[in-house]
Symmetry: D2
Subunit: 140 residues, 4 copies
Amino acid sequence: MTGSSGMSFQDVVALNSSARLNRLAGFEVTAAASGTAEIVMQWSDDLTQYEGHLHAGMIAALLDTACGFAAVTKAGNVTASHFSMNCLRPAVGRRFVAKGITVRAGRKQIFAKAELFSENEQGDRTLVATGDTLMVPLDR
Amino acid sequence: MTGSSGMSFQDVVALNSSARLNRLAGFEVTAAASGTAEIVMQWSDDLTQYEGHLHAGMIAALLDTACGFAAVTKAGNVTASHFSMNCLRPAVGRRFVAKGITVRAGRKQIFAKAELFSENEQGDRTLVATGDTLMVPLDR
Amino acid sequence: MTGSSGMSFQDVVALNSSARLNRLAGFEVTAAASGTAEIVMQWSDDLTQYEGHLHAGMIAALLDTACGFAAVTKAGNVTASHFSMNCLRPAVGRRFVAKGITVRAGRKQIFAKAELFSENEQGDRTLVATGDTLMVPLDR
Amino acid sequence: MTGSSGMSFQDVVALNSSARLNRLAGFEVTAAASGTAEIVMQWSDDLTQYEGHLHAGMIAALLDTACGFAAVTKAGNVTASHFSMNCLRPAVGRRFVAKGITVRAGRKQIFAKAELFSENEQGDRTLVATGDTLMVPLDR
């Protein structure tokens, strides 16, 4: 599952299952190939902050994981060293979709960015946050 | 509990209890006054990433919450608009301590920063991550 | 030139001329409308770091200015509170093109992002850096 | 002047002189040792933005350079991959002092942070911005 070459979709699904928080929160990998990845999470009241919106920690978890899964399709296992996010709108909705993409996959560092969308009952999507992660490849 | 003036320690304890994720993860407010705050969380296998370290989303949750609780002691309720963090070392340990402090509490924006320490069985602390949050006061 | 409504292209050209560093470095506004802006700067040996690449401060100046000019077309005068950038590749070339776009222009805060391209003698462009700026409107 | 071991104060002074923008802006290295560095710059009307404050690009240049010079005392030559800053107050004054310090100097990555102070005619200092830089060692 690891290696200096990139992971397949099935590798990423397995990687997701190996992360306990991802299972607890119900992250589902819906796409992962060629430097891109998509994760879906259903709304859960357990994961909220004091106003009842999705907690900033979970917004970060979704964005960072989408960046990480995009990166592993290019570079095998990675570890994150810097993460930043902009919270644009209240994160509420029926479910959330995080889309990650690598911006540059270098030998020493990998840059990726992600967008988090909330989806309402009608399936309409709203961009609620953006993020980016800088990672170091582990297997090189 | 809200208001344009700052919250007391008891207010912050109540605010923490009102956040479902904070309860799920077991965040405990151990200090909150005069632009500073401290949160403690015991290790839990449920909150890990694929290597068995604390998940980046939980590192973010602890840092961002420490920043937020530092801010509310100065400014009442706030909402985060930007968050960033540096992951310095693997986040493993018996428990975690996050310390937040406001850097500037302005009328329109509040800047705070935080440090996350892991603690081993002997109680020795290691700095594992740093973060900073930019917030907007809600009640002004 | 100011006001709570957005600036025109001519307003942005005048704003650029009013900034001494922008004149010193030779920033030229080539587009500014509807939440987007583009700035061009010719290569100058005066603006380099120790290896002879464009200095990180100038990369920041170009990215932040592109974000700012995108924002003023939506919101009138703004001031930056947070800026971050990723330096993807050495910033060398015949000239540089920075493209900014607003991600969210709210009442209290404006989020924008930008890309910096270097251009070689043949006119081929390479993405060398990305950035994002969080701004506060001054006239609201 | 390069090498995997850290630079001396004289090395850093020479490094500063080798950067054209640093000479143009008048950066002076006033300290550099053991993972810390300090840079001083006199006010110049040439380096301002549209309101007549120090330009965000120059704030970034000072913060990033202070981080970089702190890092080279530990690790020899480095290159910056991520930079972020918070602009806390208008950057005006008689001169500016940037103080950098390494937070973690690892084998693959170096984390540093910096503070920028403005100084008035009486020599009183005000914190106007904070920043942090993630760097990669070049000689390892």
